[in-house]
Symmetry: C3
């Protein structure tokens, strides 16, 4: 298994995955998951076209080999081989000659950023199209063009992968990232890279929760997973959707629909106590697959962590979202934040004080003498008093850290000492 | 039926009603209600003196034909024929000659506004009195005066009127305004005029709720109505008390005792999303008949809408509250606000998402293609996602508008489309 | 019984108690309680060494007669007779000659305040020590010193005193202050003096609640009292821990662990409506005996009133906390605040409106005519309307005062009038 411990290593993976032509189905997704599986063991799922999944149906599988628009001289003026963004995702096959005017109805540009190529798809209505720079379009002379798309749209499968880091309990934390975008780096190759690195780190730590990593196409992938795991979804206690994990903007945490789920408190705490600039936003039913996890029937405690949020930067869904747009440092920072958050989540628990009438005598149990330096000792003692006072079943260690203003880690040390002394129990 | 659609038409009605000598009982009220009934059908109620109503008893009926104070030459120095404010409401008959010093005990002035005549009543203790300008009083020479009040206080009836705009359901919204003040324009002829115009507008709209308009004397009228409708009061789901509806100040909404009743949310939303300057105040047990509707035994969702609130302007309860004090524009604005609020209230409902697991596929139901222009389409799509996500029975359309920041009307359109598609139900 | 009505009288008591060598046990505490008992009758409790109290055990009793460090010439360079702070509390007996270097391990100073003597104790580990000014230590020449502590640490008793002001009900308010500190004036002789004066004042007033004053050593005293009153602790409805009651700082109220206990609301109300500068702080499990009363098993509605809070001033636990550090005015102000708070607490009650449907007719019951001057009358009438409107069992008179903005005393007068008229009941 390849280790992916640094921002640079994650960035190399982004560059390696970048050229593949992913979509919600097809061989580009399969190849992507194979590369993911070089880093973490992956259970692959292939769900046949036509399978009913909640309110949806698994669509036909799309694959594309080549596509271009060529001028009368045979020169490719728009070429899929240069960038897979040039073809509208799920374009049906076409092989025609047509005038520029006819062709225009099938062309998509970004007039406001004339050198960028937009990203467009048409999953659920049968059509075809090309995306190109406005500058390129402006330079095309009138005349006839050969239009060629060598794609297939046939019954096949939807492909997704799962990786599980087993924990001490079967309660699960899910980390989900979408794998359906072609040559877009921040959205979401950076998310995939951070997820892999996070999974590797967790595996070294024997976590409390079982952590399940989901690599699957947006919307239809999450819906397929939820449909196939409908009976077991209750074991998902927490989760985050990871996307746009590598741009140079500051972090944004979008709360779960519940707004006060434990993951919401944990992420807010970690972002607040770190000195990172950040934003915490309320849930909205728009964005990534938190839309599905937080639909009212499921209403899971799943939020979303991004840097600059969904659709919040001009490069979003354009050729400008290339590997240069994501930075190793940003990915490393996103990873570090996830690790800090999961360290808190994984250790956050509610205890009950077994000696709740008056303070127990800490001195006779050696809970003073075991302390080190003066100010540390004072803080450690305060933490024990706080844990004893608030361990009534209604306050978790994170609640106690928030209430007392003490670092979570200090509260954990105090709780561990009190557990050892049989003064609190889970 | 006369239409009362404009501020000018409402102002004309205020001027027509202004000279009548209203009180909590008597022919002035009857004549007022007859004029109201020229605009909207009115069910008249006559409740006999002595009827027990909750903790109160319907008082004797008071009528007055003439009243004056005349000097030794016979000249009327205070004259009921000039303004009915000159006589203390419910004054018992008197016919005496007395010195100015004796008379003073029965005179009421406003030293701080020496040219204004105050409004005074004494419903429940047997006395008599005159109100006059301080300037007038200062100019009276010593000497004897003839004092004459030709009034009757006899067993009779308390009179009030009801007008109902039938709705699709029997759940009711009440609009209440007091009819007991004599020549005072803002308090409450403006309220009466706005209520009539509001009733006319609602009748044209086939509303969801049944709207009941109550024209009745303050306090004893509301208490009488509540006593006589004690068993049915549960059908009153919402309501507003309308008063001081025509002065040039900005709007004030006073919340129901509940503070979070639906009418409270609706009024706050409409006032906030309009760009009107306004104030929302907490409930207090002082003001108009919201005092009765919000007594703890009833605790109805009834707030109060005024412009400058109860007792909040110097002209309050004086001869300066005349038709010039109220403006057609202000009445039109109060009316428009009521109509906007009732449009929201009438359409606010909670739905349940019938496809709550994941998002339903909107595309296959044509819920994308039916959309018009680009930014409209985006907002409409957002609204559908919000309605689907929050339709769990706990959130009304208004809650969804507030939470999403989308206009209520946009949320309603989305809900209608989702209802048509059988994706939500009431 | 000696009256302690003025700040000056309280200050005299502080000066009289100051020289006594108090600790958590011993004759200094007994002598202190004898002096308290000259002012209020005191039930004395003697709890034998070894008694199990909650998680703790009553320790051996410590008494000390003399202690000093003398130089080779026999001159006492540190002398218990000058100040009992010079000996570490609970020092075991010692009689040795040792070098200054050896002695240093047993010496405690305050380098940051070199002329002050610190206060140190070692209740639960067997050791001895001396406290002195850094300046004194710096002036000691090398050489041998005679070290002598004539103390006893033997089975005996823990001593505390209780004084009860009987009320109309057996529900109790406790006022607790610690008696274990030797020559420290603000901490806590000022608290003891204020508590005595408060008890004397309450006794004159025939209060509603039974008020129990507890004079006992910190921590072990409170734990002992709670252990011995375990079955009856439910009758403690409210309470305050009184400490640091005499310094020149402004008042600080530290809330009970509940945060919304009635005493918390009362203290916040009284401090807010007085114009005193003050601070209200959330509970923390550190400070005085509120730690024990607010341990999660008891979770009593007990807050803490101090001037400058626990450990919040440099003189804290040093020889600089002497009688000059506390002022008669500050003690009088603390006393006045307690009296105001207990006046509110004692009269705060929730009532139920017996005429909850509409307003009852106040006029026919003479509840208007009984009113005095104009603006007073208006406020009194408002207060009656507020009490009627909010007396639904969920709002106490204090809640009504807070909600209405009316003075608590005005609300009480209104409630009394409504009680007399049988319009509300407890």
């Amino acid at each position: 298994m390849r280790e992916l411990g640094t921002g640079e290593a994650m960035h190399e993976l982004v560059e390696r995955l970048y050229p593949l032509c992913r979509s919600i189905t097809g061989d580009g997704v399969r190849r992507t998951l194979e590369i993911v599986a070089e880093h973490v063991p992956l259970e692959m799922h292939e769900v046949p076209t036509g399978t009913q999944v909640l309110d949806w149906t698994v669509p036909q599988e799309w694959n594309i080999r080549d596509a271009y628009v060529a001028d009368a001289s045979g020169k490719r003026v728009i070429d899929f081989q240069e960038s897979n963004l040039h073809v509208v995702g799920y374009s049906v096959p076409v092989s025609e000659t047509m005038s520029l005017d006819e062709l225009r109805k099938h062309l998509h540009t970004l007039p406001e950023n004339p050198s960028w190529v937009p990203y467009r798809t048409s999953y659920y209505s049968s059509t075809w199209g090309f995306c190109l720079a406005q500058d390129t379009l402006d330079a095309l002379p009138d005349g006839d063009y050969d239009v060629h798309i060598d794609s297939t749209l046939e019954d096949g499968h939807l492909t997704y992968g799962e990786h599980v880091v087993p924990g001490q309990v079967t309660d699960e934390v899910i980390v989900s990232c979408h794998t359906c975008h072609p040559s877009l780096a921040n959205d979401n190759l950076a998310g995939i890279a951070v997820a892999i690195s996070l999974a590797q780190a967790l595996a070294r730590e024997k976590p409390y929760y079982t952590y399940r990593f989901l690599f699957m196409p947006g919307t239809i992938g999450a819906i397929t997973w939820l449909a196939r795991n409908f009976e077991n979804v209750g074991r998902v206690k927490h989760g985050i959707v990871l996307a746009c994990a590598g741009d140079r903007g500051s972090l944004t945490y979008k709360q779960s629909r519940r707004g006060d789920a434990e993951i919401d408190k944990v992420m807010a705490h970690v972002l607040k106590t770190s000195t990172r600039p950040h934003e915490v936003k309320e849930f909205s039913p728009y964005g990534y697959d938190e839309r599905q996890f937080c639909s009212p029937g499921f209403n899971l405690g799943v939020g979303s962590l991004t840097r600059t949020p969904y659709a919040g930067y001009p490069e979003y869904h354009t050729s400008a979202d290339n590997p240069d747009f994501v930075s190793p440092d940003s990915m490393a920072d996103t990873l570090a934040t996830c690790r800090e958050a999961f360290a808190v989540l994984d250790r956050d628990r509610s205890y009950v004080n077994l000696s709740p009438y008056g303070e127990p005598q800490l001195g006779k149990r050696g809970l003073y003498s075991s302390l080190g330096g003066r100010s540390d000792a004072k803080e450690a003692q305060m933490a024990m008093l706080w844990v004893l006072n608030l361990s009534d079943g209604d306050h978790s260690l994170l609640d106690i850290a928030e209430r007392s203003g003490l670092p979570f880690a200090t509260v954990v040390v105090a709780a561990d000492a009190l557990l050892d002394a049989d003064l609190i129990k889970a």
